[in-house]
Subunit: 119 residues, 2 copies
């Protein structure tokens, strides 16, 4: 394995709401995603999920508060907590979560991807 | 919990080779560390370890190759693989690894810290 450069990896895809796997460790996966617009409300029953903003600004709506993440900021959504990511402009994020995590969580939606690609 | 800003967290400590915990999820911890100089050769028998460079340049010597990581680059050292981090100038890194990980791995050294602080 060699060094993984996030910006280089981010040039390899353009689709939004389609996380790509860039690493795996201890049963967890590291993913990159481009987000634009509003995602769906969902939760992950058994998985905590980390969002780290590489570029842009991400809003994470929770039922009782709204988290705004700028470049270089991160937030961990605990398991079982409903959340809705929103990106008014395109945002690039790194995700860290168990390999078992379905990105739309407990709901089936047109945005749901069954299998994620490695890049 | 609120947004975690890496650069703000990095202003809260100056010690090198003393990782600080900034988050925990799925039995894993997210840590920040400032590194300068040469660390010791060590391995983690049961833990894969991710290094992500926030600022500066990190060299990770392995027994059969040398990895150079610049800002925005990461590398996962698999469990059982001996490694030696080297920072010719101070480098700031984010680490992802199981909460059980001892930072000097299998060896006891003057750099070993028994308990890490949260910041």
């Amino acid at each position: 394995m060699s060094a993984i450069n996030l910006n280089e990896k981010l040039t390899l895809f353009q689709e939004t709401w389609t996380p790509k796997i860039i690493g795996e460790l201890n049963g967890q996966q590291v993913k990159l995603a481009k987000l634009k617009g509003e995602f769906v409300w969902h939760q992950h029953e058994n998985e905590d999920e980390l969002f780290y903003v590489v570029k842009g600004q991400l809003i994470i709506e929770l039922r009782d508060q709204t988290i705004t993440l700028k470049e270089g900021e991160m937030y961990i959504v605990p398991r079982g907590v409903e959340h809705k990511p929103i990106a008014h402009e395109e945002v690039h994020v790194m995700l860290f979560e168990p390999a078992s995590t379905a990105h739309t969580g407990d709901i089936e939606h047109e945005l749901t991807k069954d299998e994620l690609d490695w890049i």
